[in-house]
């Protein structure tokens, strides 16, 4: 197997993009990644998207993208793996390069969710639940997260104050990120500690409230991969090495898990990624965790080994996960503020880490001297999870 490097990264601002089609967004992000790397052609393209067939009534999106961007006759595949589609597509691209079969690969992830009503977007995401034993009841992903949160609070003493602190932290960072969907600052008083908070932050899926959830977003992100030993001839960028990845699955239904608070797929995916990278959690300088709901940032930080079970929430309150803290988490704003166009998210996390490891971000958002980054892309309600360990390479 060959070592694989990320040599190009591109993203378009997430949010409501009524003017763009799904393929427009994928094309814009792809061109940015190609231009960033300084390459004009690739051997293969992996596109991450979950909902084109449902929301846009468009299929075969990878074929549409290579045609639109002028990348013919590159091989092109669509990767659909729910909210972990992005991580899965990057993983497939990495395998393709590592195997020696392809040298230059484009991975692009995108989703267009705002052209339907909130009801329909919620229903679309809920189609990943079990079609006979979950979906008919009206369960939603916020509902799944609500049931998980109740148990996690009971077992590990997580409080609403801890969840609110994550919402505030990630929206603060989102306000500094020009690619973020949500740029609004919020206060503890406004969403927890005042009579107004009942109106500002109503229950969404008890015990979770509105500000515990990521927004429904449009957006796209892309990266260019190549063998590490060809970096110097292909690009002027500092390479970011894909030091390790992991992927694991868990039961489709929440009811069948022996302990529903145990996110086994998160633990396993992270262990694989760390083992492959020969890296320990304590060596990570910056992490992008899948905070579709605030509780997940705490639960994932504990399951991957950054903090012991029951300590993740305390670490948030102590400021350990802020920029400048022991381990900055979701300096991008995370899904909570950058947004969660589901197919784009896993790729956007890798783009953010690439920028962090190349030390290219403005001072207010750059993790100083970051050399190792980590991401978790969480599909389903934890039934399909992809993790990456990325490292800064030598120019």
């Amino acid at each position: 197997m060959r070592d694989v490097a990320i040599i190009g990264a591109g993203m378009i601002p997430f949010g409501r993009r009524d003017q763009d089609t799904l393929v427009d967004m994928l094309a814009y992000a792809s061109l940015k990644a190609l231009d960033d790397a300084g390459v004009s052609a690739v051997d293969a393209v992996y596109v991450a998207n979950m909902g084109g067939g449902i929301l846009q009534r468009q299929t075969a999106i990878a074929s549409a993208l290579v045609d639109r961007v002028g990348l013919l006759p590159a091989a092109a595949d669509l990767v659909e793996n729910g909210p972990a589609s992005g991580g899965s597509a990057v993983k497939n691209g990495v395998l393709a390069v590592a195997s020696g079969y392809y040298d230059l690969v484009l991975v692009a992830g995108g989703e267009k969710m705002r052209e339907v009503t909130g009801w329909k977007a919620t229903d679309f995401v809920a189609t990943l639940t079990h079609p006979e034993t979950e979906y008919p009841y009206g369960i939603t992903l916020p509902g799944m997260a609500g049931m998980f949160t109740r148990l996690y609070m009971e077992k590990y003493g997580v409080t609403r104050e801890m969840l609110v602190e994550i919402a505030i932290k990630n929206q603060q960072m989102g306000a500094l990120n020009p690619y973020a969907h949500v740029e609004m600052l919020i206060t503890k008083e406004g969403i927890l500690d005042s009579p107004h908070s009942v109106v500002n932050n109503p229950p969404m899926a008890d015990p979770l409230h509105l500000y515990d959830a990521c927004p429904v977003s449009d957006g796209a992100a892309a990266v260019i991969l190549c063998p590490l030993d060809r970096v110097k001839e292909l690009t002027h960028n500092v390479p970011v090495i894909v030091a390790g990845f992991g992927q694991a699955t868990d039961t489709h239904t929440l009811a069948e898990r022996d302990d529903p608070t145990d996110l086994k797929a998160v633990t396993l995916a992270a262990q694989q990624a760390f083992e492959r990278a020969q890296t320990k959690p304590a060596e990570i300088n910056v992490a992008e965790l899948h905070d579709a709901f605030t509780i997940l940032e705490i639960a994932e930080s504990e399951h991957v080994g950054f903090f012991k079970k029951g300590e993740g929430g305390k670490a948030v309150l102590a400021g350990k996960t802020k920029l400048g803290g022991q381990l900055p988490i979701n300096v991008s704003g995370g899904l909570k503020a950058r947004g969660h166009p589901v197919g784009a998210t896993g790729v956007a996390q890798v783009v953010e880490l690439t920028w962090q490891l190349r030390h290219e971000l403005p001072k207010e958002r750059q993790v100083k001297n970051a050399r190792a980054g980590f991401s978790i892309n969480f599909g389903g309600f934890g039934n399909n999870v992809v993790a990456f360990v990325l490292k800064r390479g030598e120019k």
Partner: protein, 113 residues
């Protein structure tokens, strides 16, 4: 509760619902068919206010229960807003409409306080 069929592994005894072709614990392929029995103990629940397309209610209570014979399942909880719903409580399970598609009822588990 004859409407729900669960699958008890003939080798290790693990109970599955829904169906799997192989036991999630020991990969055995033979199962005894069992139905949920007795009261349903509420393991976790949520009150959802942002419902998906297809529901006209203002909110839904949804929970996961474990029946006395070990079958675990998700269903709706019939409860008014502000009702005393809590984990560990015992509920009765009924087979009732849980949603309507094109005016036709879709039946499923409804847990009653």
């Amino acid at each position: 509760m004859k409407e729900i069929t669960a699958y008890k592994c003939k080798k290790c005894g693990r109970i599955h619902y829904p169906k799997h072709e192989r036991c999630l614990n020991c990969q055995h392929r033979e199962f005894e068919l069992v139905h949920p029995e007795g009261k349903a103990k509420l393991l976790t629940y949520t009150q959802i206010f942002n419902l998906p397309w297809g529901f006209d209610e203002r909110f839904l209570y949804i929970g996961v229960v474990e029946f006395e014979n070990g079958v675990k399942a998700m269903g709706q909880i019939a409860a008014p807003d502000g009702a005393d719903v809590h984990t560990g409580m015992l509920l009765a399970a009924e087979w009732r409409p849980v949603r309507y598609v094109s005016g036709e009822p879709v039946y499923g588990l409804k847990f009653v306080l």
